[in-house]
């Protein structure tokens, strides 16, 4: 059983928003109401006089900061707006007061004067020759959080321009029998984690301590060290339970702002955003994707080109990596002899784009899998057969120089088809496949400490965000130490006690941290054996693990006995430690990706022809995960991801009108509900034990989000005769398409 679940169902789990620190004050952020403007004046005098107000942080407080701007690819984002704002929702002040209510009330008294500037409301406007520039200069930083450097273009709004090329597309198109080109759009999407962003910061003699609902605590630590001119050793980040993230709490978000407020206040400050504010903090990058495929006379694919333009919002954040991955994820599990995919990400005056479950994946797969069905329809071929003719096999290259494919796409496709065949007409099913290369850095460390009473503590930076990582780590350590599950305790991630880890995201924790704790537990075992060997004067070959202690020769000793014999008192511990690096396990982790995260999805839908309301009737999702380390948790990851896919397929849309967010509010932003979920739902996990992780596991948790939208669109096209190319597929859009078809037919 997962150790977190008992605490969660009984109300005992302490989430970041539940944490309280002695003497803390509360901060409320004042946000820009303008999409692009100069700040020409700010009056905080009324707010300062309000009851219980401690201080007000503004852009004038740059003396508190060693570095005023931060970022992951570019140092493009001010800790707090100084003279200019670039999106509606950008922090311009933080009102700190003794109570949350006091901070909220006083925050409404801050008056800001803006002088509006011309805006880039859309990527098209941002790309136009005469568009206003959001950032005057680019200050790229390399290998900071992701490997590599963003390829932005100075003097434009383009902050990433990536090209993936293979073979000779021009010649292929020249010799083609037919060429198909379609264009698809994908909206900005809110993460909508149930717990909004929250952080607490405290400066004291030891330095800076931050409690945060962060997925990447070490990135937060690194950025805070730079912003405040502190050694990394003096910045401590602690992460309790986090109420959902999905990438929206990855890299760094509100922590520099909260820490700046705490520095000014001279006491700890907690900032808990509202759900609405979280929607103004980050979002998935929207995209416009044009895709073109050339086929020969037999309908075999000769080449594919893709042009991806992503709406990156006001600050780059991890957008350059999102764009790069979208290019990779547009390829699909198909033989494409010639390939040219360009992915650009541009600044616009909207909420900053950021990582979101399978970065760039849903956008790319939406386009490429809709396009595959459109080609099959044009060729008069069954989409399963058309895909089958082009499917890659295990061991094939998806992208040159990356690890060969480690799954069998045909097996996955067949499983999805099979699960949705019962009682349904084959012709009505919508199908989608996907392959993605998770951006996992094989860098992690862990400590496993065995105490005299037999309890075991595990220290790692992997964040329990709902995926069940604590249960997985607990199981691996318990099995490696041959101890019962309940003696293994997973501590809250704390940079002061756990080794460096890249972060919780990209489907990596069970696999990479799983390997790290396994190695650390093995290290603890060898230290225990060495100690027993020394104390009891035995060969280590005569020693084995037993619940609560060791078997030595023909007798058992408890850990307490061991330490008693070793130390003279019955106290002590053994600390196992391990690091995973690209050179671990003879370098077998060095090649990217560590595994291919793949997906097959199939569904049937029904449509109310009078209203365009679509209902998902049947859904099957297939994932090849190597080994399920916790089956309900693994299934739950798949199902939850697919339902997030249902959200952007049918409902969700962060709309900006001239930079003003129109739906960034829970009342106006429709996420999937229980009544949207069909009873006929199948989750297939393929387990061949062929992953590089513990017990043959691969990473997982992202694949399920990929196939839903194109599978629904393909089912709509096949069963109802309408092809939707813009998400979300709202009833109005479907009704409009159905009406156009009726008009066309008559």
């Amino acid at each position: 059983m997962r150790p977190d679940l008992l605490e969660k169902v009984s109300g005992k789990a302490e989430f970041i928003s539940d944490v309280s620190i002695d003497g803390m004050a509360f901060g409320k952020v004042v946000r820009s109401t303008e999409p692009h403007a100069r700040i020409i004046g700010m009056d905080v005098s009324l707010a300062e006089q309000a009851d219980g107000v401690v201080c007000i942080l503004t852009g004038a407080d740059i003396d508190l900061l060693t570095q005023t701007d931060w970022g992951l690819f570019y140092e493009d984002r001010p800790v707090i707006a100084r003279d200019r704002v670039r999106y509606v929702g950008e922090p311009v002040a933080v009102v700190v007061a003794d109570t949350q209510a006091g901070a909220e009330a006083a925050s409404r008294l801050v008056a800001v004067d803006y002088e509006p500037l011309p805006i880039c409301a859309t990527p098209e406007q941002a790309l136009a020759g005469d568009s206003p520039l959001l950032h005057d200069d680019f200050r790229p930083i390399s290998d900071f959080y992701f490997k590599g450097t963003a390829r932005g273009k100075a003097g434009t709004n383009v902050f990433q321009d990536y090209l993936l090329e293979r073979g000779d597309v021009d010649s292929a198109e020249h010799s083609a029998h037919r060429i198909f080109e379609h264009s698809y759009s994908f909206p900005g999407i809110a993460h909508f984690a149930m717990e909004p962003h929250c952080a607490i910061a405290r400066f004291d003699h030891a330095g800076l301590t931050v409690w945060s609902g962060a997925q990447s605590p070490t990135a937060v630590q690194k950025v805070l060290a730079r912003v405040f001119g502190l050694p990394i050793a003096r910045v401590r980040v602690i992460v309790p339970y986090v109420g959902g993230g999905f990438g929206g709490k990855a890299s760094v978000k509100i922590e520099p702002l909260v820490a700046a407020a705490a520095r000014k206040a001279g006491r700890p400050v907690k900032v808990l955003l509202s759900a609405e504010e979280s929607m103004l903090t980050c979002r998935r990058l929207g995209a416009r994707i044009t895709i073109r495929t050339a086929v020969d006379a037999q309908g075999a694919i000769l080449s594919r080109t893709g042009d991806i333009v992503m709406d990156g919002g006001a600050y780059a954040d991890t957008g350059p990596a999102v764009a790069l991955k979208s290019a990779h994820r547009l390829v699909g599990p198909y033989r494409l002899p010639n390939l040219r995919i360009r992915a650009r990400a541009v600044y616009t005056n909207t909420v900053p784009g950021a990582a979101f479950r399978s970065i760039g994946g849903p956008q790319a797969v939406w386009a490429t899998e809709s396009h595959m069905d459109e080609i099959a329809a044009e060729l008069g071929e069954d989409p399963v057969d058309f895909r089958s003719r082009h499917l890659l096999q295990r061991g094939d290259a998806v992208i040159d120089n990356l690890r060969p494919l480690d799954v069998d796409p045909a097996v996955m496709m067949d499983a999805a088809v099979e699960a949705t065949t019962k009682g349904h007409n084959r012709a009505s099913r919508g199908l989608a496949l996907a392959v993605t290369d998770p951006g996992i850095l094989p860098v992690a460390g862990a400590i496993v400490r065995v105490h005299a009473d037999g309890s075991v503590e595990v220290r790692s930076m992997s964040v329990e965000i709902g995926q069940g990582v604590r249960g997985v780590l607990q199981r691996i350590v318990a099995e490696t130490l041959s101890q019962p599950l309940e003696v293994v305790h997973i501590l809250d991630p704390d940079t002061a006690s756990a080794p460096y880890d890249w972060g919780t995201g990209a489907s990596r924790s069970s696999m990479i941290m799983g390997l790290a704790v396994e190695k650390a537990a093995e290290d603890a075992v060898s230290k225990l054996f060495a100690l027993a060997s020394e104390v009891f004067e035995l060969e280590t070959t005569a020693i084995s693990l037993a619940p609560g202690g060791l078997d030595i020769g023909d007798r058992s000793v408890s850990f307490r006995d061991l330490f008693h014999a070793a130390h003279g008192i019955d106290s002590g511990d053994v600390m196992g430690q391990a690091s995973i690096t690209p050179r671990s396990f003879d370098g077998k982790l060095a090649q990217a990706p560590l595994f291919w995260e793949t997906a097959a999805a199939a569904c049937t839908v029904s449509v109310d022809p009078e209203t365009g309301v679509v209902a998902l009737d049947t859904y099957a999702g297939v994932a090849d995960i190597g080994r399920a380390l916790n089956r309900p948790a693994a299934e739950g990851q798949e199902e939850g991801a697919a339902v997030q896919g249902l959200g952007h397929a049918l409902f969700e849309n962060l709309i900006f009108d001239e930079g003003q967010p129109m739906t960034a509010m829970p009342l106006l932003y429709r996420v999937p509900r229980l009544s949207d979920i069909p009873a006929d739902w199948t989750t297939v996990l393929i387990e061949n034990g062929d992953g590089l992780g513990p017990m043959g596991a691969k990473g997982m948790g992202e694949g399920g989000i990929l196939g839903m939208a194109p599978a629904i669109a393909n089912a709509l096209a096949r069963d109802h005769g309408v092809r939707l190319r813009d998400l979300p597929m709202t009833p109005e859009r479907i009704w409009t398409a159905l009406s156009a078809r009726k008009t066309h037919a008559s």
Binding site: S10, K12, A193, A679
Partner: protein
Amino acid sequence: MDTCVDISVEINGVPVSRSVPAETLLIDFLRDDLGLRSVKLSCDMEICGACTVLVDDLPVSSCTTLAADVDGAAVTTVEGLITDGALDPLQQAFIDHGAVQCGFCTPGFILAAKALLLRNPSPTRAEIVSALDGNICRCTGYTKIVEAVLHAASA
């Protein structure tokens, strides 16, 4: 000029009497005054159900209820479903079926399901959907939540 309101309420079976400012929201009263941190603040506009508590066995959004409104009533949070250290069958079913991921929506879901089972001990899937459709979970995809409630009802 604000006023305080005297309220007497039974919280998880324990009588509580307090004087609170009239504008005090039930969620703040439960979390801040009484330390019942299982009551979660999420959407803050009555649509997500994370702040659900039972008032006289019926679910309400504590984010948009005054503490004064529960004067004379019995309020239940998930802490109150545990009797003599034993979990309620619904709590156990949520664990057994993996109906919990991040856990932030979980107390609200369990209470909404509890209210359903109190008035309808063997609901159909459709009745469960209707009763829980107003609670949002962003992690699980809901399937395992339905399984858990069906199982708890049949146990």
